[in-house]
Symmetry: C2
Subunit: 174 residues, 2 copies
Amino acid sequence: MLKAVYTATSLKSDLNQRGFRLTPQREKILDVFQRLPQGNHLSAEDLHNILKDRGERLSLSTVYRTLNLMARIGILREVELAEGHKHYEINPPYPNHHHHLVCVQCHRTVEFKNELISKLGLKQAEASGFHLLDCQLTIYGVCLEALRQGWPSLLPSDWSCPHSGLDMADGTDL
Amino acid sequence: MLKAVYTATSLKSDLNQRGFRLTPQREKILDVFQRLPQGNHLSAEDLHNILKDRGERLSLSTVYRTLNLMARIGILREVELAEGHKHYEINPPYPNHHHHLVCVQCHRTVEFKNELISKLGLKQAEASGFHLLDCQLTIYGVCLEALRQGWPSLLPSDWSCPHSGLDMADGTDL
DNA sequence: TTAAGTGCAAAAGTTTTGCACCAAG
DNA sequence: CTTGGTGCAAAACTTTTGCACTTAA
């Protein structure tokens, strides 16, 4: 089973079990994700920059290869929020997945949890004979500010609402 | 409100209302989606090829611009199933969204409906002051065949299970 | 010691854009 | 008419890959 929190040792055994190796690069990459405040997700380039800032120098190829590997085995999850590139975050063990509501105009993202949805996801996976890796509800909408500004026709496609700085993610359950 | 089925006239009014124009190109593109068997989704290039086969010749740029426009206003929905490029399909009016279960190994996709999920999506959107456009649960997993073959380490990343030809999508509700 | 992983640079895609021309409202 | 849309070709990105070299197990 995948862990909620990884140590070098538990990461190693998760990798070795599957025939992969623990390398310093993989350890550093996972470390970045583990220190990331809840609700943040990183693109390959974000991650590469963070590592660069820390004085590490992994190649961008390794970053991509590692993200793919970790998503494939379920340590990370791929989040697609229509910004034109993939984002990744730690994949919390079932049933602690969270979900995303995103404004198609300003890309402001609201995170929320809903255990029922995770349960439905698991049930559907089982019914189809799949081993569940990740389950995410993505809601696309338009935020109030954009609507007020006359969305969609009166807004340039790069318009962002003033609130988009403050993050509305609050984990509120419905 | 967006339509379940578009005629040239209703498409025109949906576009005009928002300050956009009805062009022959947009009409043809939407027509392709409307004739598409339920459960199929197209990439920009797929769509461009279908149009080419029909003897139309729209530029690929127009295809991309139209897909973006229609997704932005909610006529189409963007579906991201980790094949490396976006797919599009008609966005059915609430609460008729369907959802996807996909094998990360072979990309076999199972479609399913669940009205409860759509309702939860709407509730969450409203609670956050968003106008709902689309709401999709995406479940990532590993199919039985891949597990049997020793997923993840013993499989080349392009391995596909024998069943992937037959489509398991059956619209079964849980 | 040997199969897997890394770095680099090049390639492969996909998607976006600038600009001149065309056409819907 | 006036503003938005199209086509073309070029550019911009993101992501993947081939290959020689390292290194974990």
